[in-house]
């Protein structure tokens, strides 16, 4: 794909110059999750309330008496970003209706890591999405409980070594496949679901803007490369995020009203080995395990393509 064809790369200066997640935060060097949060805020703008689950981003941004946030921000606990945000959303709705706050739309956005979203937070997320709050939930997925030291989560990929499911003489890392949270959200009838990655910043910001417009639940699953936990050099996060898309491990798509669309296309998929080889968390993998992973990645990608080709928008299926 030629550089000139890719408009994305010429667009950085069209992005909102305002910083809502300012420097001085304590994220590791090269943290793509911090980058993703920074970019997300540029898509949201100032009329936003952010509700943050406990995790890396919450910890690095809110050392009392400082805050890296210039947006109003609330942190309560680990499993309840979605339920606390439900309360914020309900409050903003009723206070606006009663004339107690300004009469303009302020968007509630809940953010959480894969820990606070896939695992301990999934109940609150499910409830919030089912109830239909005007709420955008963005999951920043670095594929393990990174803040507490790289423990395995439901989002950890097959074969990855984590501190609670490490590679060893009798173990080849995680033996279960990554949960497909975007699908779970589609199954909740969420009208806008997308996957994203800060390695494709304009795609991500566009998705955030689209999701913000939805007057109801919306969900974005954002892959966030973690050099510390994935055991790769601190300058590799963008490259790895790109490889995740190029190998089909983390395809970038959106589901609007049930209609699937790939937003970042690749003519052919690169071999999975290109993605796995520079990450220390996969370095123990033997060729047969890599083959298993490759087969599954292709299968999941094909499943997605099947949905893109065959499924209709829900509104088209009324007859």
């Amino acid at each position: 794909m030629s550089i000139v064809n890719n408009f994305d790369l010429y667009a950085p200066r069209l992005v909102d110059q305002e910083e809502y997640f300012v420097h001085g935060h304590r994220a590791c060097q090269g943290c793509a999750e911090a980058l993703a949060v920074r970019l997300m805020c540029k898509g949201l703008g100032k009329d936003t309330v952010v509700v943050n689950a406990t995790g890396c981003m919450e910890v690095v941004s809110s050392f009392y008496p400082t805050t890296a946030w210039t947006l109003p921000w609330l942190h309560v606990a680990f499993p309840n970003a979605a339920s606390s945000a439900s309360g914020v959303e309900a409050a903003l709705k009723v206070l606006r209706r009663k004339g107690k706050i300004a009469d303009r739309r302020v968007k509630t956005v809940a953010i959480g890591g894969d820990g606070g979203t896939f695992d301990i937070g999934i109940q609150a997320l499910s409830g919030a999405m089912e109830r239909g709050h005007d709420l955008l939930y963005v999951c920043f997925d670095n594929e393990a409980y990174m803040n507490t030291g790289i423990q395995r989560s439901g989002a950890t990929p097959f074969g990855a070594s984590t501190t609670t499911h490490p590679a060893g003489d009798k173990s080849s890392g995680k033996t279960a496949w990554k949960k497909n949270l975007a699908e779970i959200m589609v199954a909740h009838n969420v009208s806008y679901v997308a996957t994203a990655c800060p390695s494709y910043p304009i795609d991500f910001i566009t998705k955030v803007k689209k999701a913000r417009k939805v007057e109801g639940p919306a969900f974005i699953h954002c892959l966030a490369v973690c050099p510390t936990g994935w055991r790769c050099p601190s300058d590799a996060a963008i490259k790895l995020g790109r490889l995740a898309s190029e190998t089909g491990v983390f395809p970038l798509y959106e589901v609007v009203d049930g209609k699937y669309r790939m937003t970042v296309q690749h003519d052919t998929l690169r071999p999975i080995q290109d993605y796995l080889k520079s990450q220390g968390r996969f370095r123990h993998l033997t060729p047969d395990v890599i083959e298993t992973i490759q087969a599954r990645v292709i299968q999941e990608y094909n499943k997605l393509q099947d949905k893109i080709n065959c499924l209709h928008a829900w509104s088209d299926l009324k007859e």
Binding site: P12, V22, H23, H25, Q29, S62, P65, T66, T67
Partner: protein, 96 residues
């Protein structure tokens, strides 16, 4: 930003540990973490802004001439800007 007394007494602690100064994390200079530092070569820079977009700190800014450079008070030296810069206008050198 006003210099705040630290550490606070219990009477001075903000109720609920609320922080009312948006973005005052900027008082902490993460630049002290660096082992490598980015050097920007103006003659190669095409002012595309990719380094600005990809910086996790958001500390790369456009100077008066339109060229990009990193605010060394905050740059952690991760090297993403150098890795992503298309014309290779950024080089990471050891912090001397």
């Amino acid at each position: 930003m006003a210099e705040k007394k630290w550490p606070e007494t219990w009477q001075e602690v903000s109720p609920g540990n609320m922080v009312f100064e948006p973005g005052n994390a900027a008082s902490y200079h993460t630049g002290s973490w660096r082992a490598l530092r980015p050097v920007f070569t103006k003659t190669k820079c095409i002012k595309c802004g990719v380094c600005y977009i990809y910086c996790p700190e958001g500390c790369i800014y456009q100077n008066d001439e339109g060229f990009f450079e990193a605010d060394l008070d905050y740059c952690k030296g991760c090297g993403i800007c150098a890795a992503e810069c298309w014309p290779g206008a950024i080089e990471m050198i050891e912090e001397g």
